[in-house]
């Protein structure tokens, strides 16, 4: 059996010293470490830096939120406002007006806001967790009205609870119109139950696939009958949670072997609490968190400790993260995590500290989508896979290399000034390679790989001392090689 393939580490080249503890922590808890982040974390110490990231409201994000206002303004609107806006714009376009399809505009505004925040927000761990829960409670924007409804779900469910409490998050998700639409619960009525949400709620959001039966699916579906979306009548605003008692079944049920008394909306809420209390939920959520932050093969002992904290704190997400990120397993996990396309592309933008620019933003969104990880674009309710084995393949390798090669002409990127970048670096091929290794990787590469990179740079410009134009050519080559090297794909 090909165990050897999957047991293989991903990407730490032989002979390379591991990144130091600070770089590892910053790298895993952000969308790519910038030099200023690493310096700040060194100054504060790892635990203090982590506390600061967990206490995210203390980090000033007004700059990036102003950018979101400017470049992705529809993310501020409620679902009824978005519905009105969409109707109004559609009427204008129908009457001969110009502009984008409003649903596409709403969907791509949320994608843009997501990328902007990932690149520019100082609340990096918070944004990483937003991405995590977005996938845990995956809703595809490509599915009809979810294109409009996902905006409120992102803001009022995922972002509101991303570093809060899992029970609250679970309840909020269950009442999220986007989720009710995406998993068809808005159609789940007493005269004809729809099982879609009931199944995925148990299988994917909470207790996992082996902890329930088809009978449980049918019973849970009955408990959620009538959980719907407002706007059926013209007098109602569109797109809010609405419990329709008339279509709720209400009879007594049995879920996971225990009774749920007859009742109204509280039946569904009782199901959510029962699922939250089930030990399978702590295991499933913590295993996914350990897989995200530590290793594609989550060490069970760490999952168990995290699950214990999950239970004892009643679902406190920050407490669970503290356990995971300060563990011995975390410190021993180098080379275990591959950047997925979104993380890879965003980390390049962060590495160069590229300033916000609409053209760049849409270019980055396009590259991420081509690599197969368009935000809110995974077509199934289980979210994008979070393992290197799923993403390390030839199509991805080629696109990653070509994305690195796009920086060969770095001067066309606003914000990259190669001459200034290397002005303080001594004009030799080796010094320029070392500069970009430190600047973009924050770690050393193996002696052999360093020599390989230097040899490639020397090939054209010679040994040095280099003239200023030769230095620029050397910088061009060095930075592409560093971006295209295996090191840069490690998280």
């Amino acid at each position: 059996m090909p165990e050897t393939l999957t047991r293989r580490r991903l990407l730490i080249p032989t002979g390379a010293p591991p990144p130091d503890d600070t770089v590892r922590l910053v790298s895993r808890t952000s969308f790519g470490p910038r030099s200023v982040d690493v310096e700040a974390a060194r100054r504060l110490g790892r635990e203090e830096w982590l506390e600061q990231q967990l206490d995210y409201p203390s980090l000033d994000d007004r700059d990036v939120e102003a950018l979101v206002d400017e470049l992705a303004s529809t993310v501020r609107l409620t679902s009824p406002e978005l519905a009105d806006y969409s109707d109004q714009r559609e009427a204008e376009i129908e009457a001969g007006g110009s502009g984008r399809n409003p649903r596409q505009e709403i969907a791509s505004d949320l994608v843009a806001a997501t990328i902007l925040r990932a690149i520019h927000s100082p609340r990096q761990l918070y944004e990483v967790m937003v991405e995590f829960w977005t996938n845990h409670f995956s809703i595809s924007q490509l599915d009809g009205l979810a294109s409009v409804l996902k905006t409120a779900d992102d803001r009022d469910v995922v972002r509101r609870h991303a570093l809060g409490n899992f029970r609250d998050l679970l309840h909020a998700s269950a009442k999220s119109p986007a989720m009710l639409f995406y998993l068809d619960n808005h159609l789940n009525i007493s005269s004809g139950p729809n099982e879609n949400y009931a199944r995925e709620l148990m299988e994917l959001h909470t207790i996992g696939p082996d902890a329930f039966t088809q009978q449980d699916v049918e019973e849970v579906a009955r408990c959620f009958t009538g959980w719907s979306i407002s706007g059926r009548r013209p007098s109602e605003p569109f797109g809010l949670f609405s419990f329709r008692a008339a279509t709720h079944d209400g009879g007594p049920r049995t879920v996971l072997g225990a009774p749920i008394p007859s009742g109204g909306m509280e039946q569904g809420e009782a199901v959510l609490d029962r699922l939250f209390d089930h030990p399978g939920t702590a295991q499933l959520v913590c295993r996914k968190l350990v897989q995200r932050f530590v290793s594609d093969r989550p060490p069970q002992a760490l999952v168990d400790r995290a699950a214990e904290v999950f239970r004892s704190t009643e679902g406190n997400i920050a407490a669970v993260l503290r356990t995971i990120l300060l563990s011995a397993e975390f410190e021993a996990s180098d080379g275990g995590k591959l950047k997925r396309p979104f993380e890879f592309v965003v980390s390049v933008a962060r590495g160069f500290d590229l300033p916000p620019d609409t053209q760049l933003l849409s270019g980055l969104a396009q590259v991420i989508a081509q690599m197969g990880q368009r935000p809110f674009g995974w077509p199934a309710p289980n979210g994008y896979p979070d393992s290197g084995a799923a993403w390390a393949n030839t199509a991805g390798m080629l696109r990653r290399w070509n994305f690195g090669l796009a920086f060969e002409d770095a001067g066309r990127f606003q914000g990259i000034d190669l001459a200034a970048e290397i002005s303080a670096v001594s004009p030799t091929a080796s010094a320029i390679v070392d500069h970009f290794v430190e600047r973009l990787l924050h770690r050393s590469v193996s002696t052999l790989d360093r020599e390989t990179m230097i040899a490639f740079v020397r090939d054209t410009v010679g040994d040095g001392p280099l003239s200023s134009s030769e230095s620029l050519e050397a910088a061009r080559r060095a930075l592409v090689l560093v971006l295209d090297s295996p090191y840069f794909h490690s998280r």
């Binding site: 059996m1 090909p2 165990e3 050897t4 393939l5 999957t6 293989r8 580490r9 991903l10 990407l11 730490i12 080249p13 032989t14 068809d184 159609l187 004809g192 729809n194 099982e195 879609n196 299988e203 696939p209 088809q214 049918e218 080379g335 591959l338 081509q370 197969g372 077509p379 199934a380 289980n382 896979p385 290197g388 084995a389 799923a390 993403w391 390390a392 393949n393 030839t394 199509a395 991805g396 390798m397 080629l398 290399w401 070509n402 090669l405 796009a406 060969e408 002409d409 790989d449 390989t452 990179m453 040899a455 490639f456 080559r477 592409v480 090689l481 295209d484 090297s485 295996p486 794909h489």
Partner: protein
């Protein structure tokens, strides 16, 4: 083991770093060597989301069919364009499968009904794990059935194109020691930019990706594929026989698979997905969401068949999904997750023009679980016969561990 051979080959190539790394390998893998691979090319089409087989090959002759599906069932075969297309008096194609009806009538396409895997799961993800892993009941399988097929078939084919996944993510069925090539676009499969055209740059990448890790292996395979793709120059491709593929990712995927097969790059298996089959609501009958998906699928498969006409004795296609759907429609005009489903095969060696399998019936006592079509043929029975008769694999016991075929259905010629 081919794995060891391939690995040591890559490693020894990397060790001789004084030479440009990719150069000798191109010479080593001449296109002529590829034709010696032997059996058919297998193309595996996966309908993601659980296709409603009862609306693909509809049991119009079953007395319960119309009762169970008051709004979804198809009209009895007849002259109207919305009528089902009769196959054998019992079963009929959905009208959107009109492009495939001719293939069926010509004996180039067969269906097997009430197919599935033995584990009773209605989870998409478990069912896909089981089907693609080839190990129903076990989610721990690190490899897929096609991956193990390639591993057991020691035919000396070293081509980086041996296994293709037309996707940004490799299909689970292809996982295994023979690294599959993930491919999105042939036209774009090259390095871009000044440095990208420099042999020295590619050689340097080859050295940086010369280690034993997963990403190194992918890097080496990417470089090799870039070189061989360029040498084969497949960018001038015109489909043959007027074949017109649907302009969708699925159609584009099939078109490119045809292109790679025609370029003789050593393709043995290729996977392409078509998604959107999870029709819990608003599924439609003769028209609607499901009908549009079937239209896309049928036009794609028919174009592929026409395009590869000259290779008719060499390429076999199998179409399957993770499970079928509930026999009765639901209150949302859709269908929920079910069990038994239809599977289709077309192309080389298919004894077509028939619907194979034992029909379990749609009466209440014949349905299973919450009202689903029973499974009377294990999907591995069909795939094992395909691997043995068409792909020359004598070790299907390793491909499908813990499975003994109850006897082949005789769908394929040897």
């Amino acid at each position: 083991m081919p794995r060891t051979d391939r690995r040591s080959f890559l490693l020894s190539a990397a060790a001789g770093a004084a030479l440009p790394l990719w150069f000798p390998r191109v010479a080593f893998s001449s296109p002529e060597a590829k034709e010696a691979a032997g059996g058919d090319v297998l193309v595996c089409v996966f309908q993601r989301g659980g296709s409603d087989g009862l609306n693909v090959v509809a049991p119009t002759g079953d007395p319960r069919y119309h009762d169970l599906r008051p709004t979804l069932s198809l009209d009895e075969p007849g002259s109207a364009s919305s009528s089902a297309l009769d196959l054998d008096g019992t079963f009929a194609f959905h009208p959107s499968l009109a492009p495939l009806k001719e293939l069926f009538d010509d004996g180039a396409l067969a269906a097997v009904h009430a197919v599935g895997q033995p584990e009773e799961t209605r989870s998409h993800f478990d069912a896909m794990d089981f089907i693609e892993g080839g190990t129903p009941g076990s989610k721990a399988s690190a490899s897929g059935w096609l991956g193990r097929h390639l591993d057991t078939l020691r035919n000396g084919n070293d081509s980086p194109f041996r296994a293709i996944g037309m996707s940004s993510l490799i299909q689970q069925s292809l996982r295994g020691p023979v690294s599959a090539l993930a491919l999105q676009s042939i036209a774009d499969f090259h390095l871009e930019g000044d440095l990208g055209s420099l042999p020295a740059f590619q050689s340097t990448l080859g050295q940086l990706y010369s280690g034993p890790e997963l990403l190194d292996v992918q890097g080496q395979q990417t470089l090799l594929a870039i070189e061989q793709m360029a040498a084969a120059n497949p960018s001038q491709y015109q489909p043959a026989n007027g074949a017109t593929y649907p302009e969708t990712p699925f159609g584009f995927g099939l078109r490119q698979i045809a292109q790679l097969i025609r370029a003789s790059l050593g393709v043995e298996v290729a996977c392409v997905d078509i998604g959107g089959w999870d029709t819990h609501e608003g599924q439609g009958g003769a028209l609607g969401v499901h009908a549009s998906l079937l239209d896309e699928m049928a036009r794609g498969l028919a174009a592929f068949h026409a395009d590869l006409d000259g290779l008719a004795q060499k390429v076999t296609v199998v179409v399957l999904s993770e499970f079928g759907r509930r026999a009765a429609e639901n209150a949302s005009g859709g269908t929920d997750h079910g069990r038994g489903n239809v599977l289709m095969v077309q192309g080389a060696g298919v004894r077509g023009g028939q619907v194979y399998g034992r029909w379990p019936g749609l009466e209440d006592h014949e349905l299973v679980g919450p009202g689903d079509l029973a499974v009377t043929t294990d999907y591995r029975t069909v795939l094992a016969e395909l691997l043995e008769k068409r792909l020359g694999n004598a070790e299907t016991g390793s491909v499908f561990p813990d499975f003994t075929s109850p006897g082949s259905l005789g769908i394929f010629e040897s």
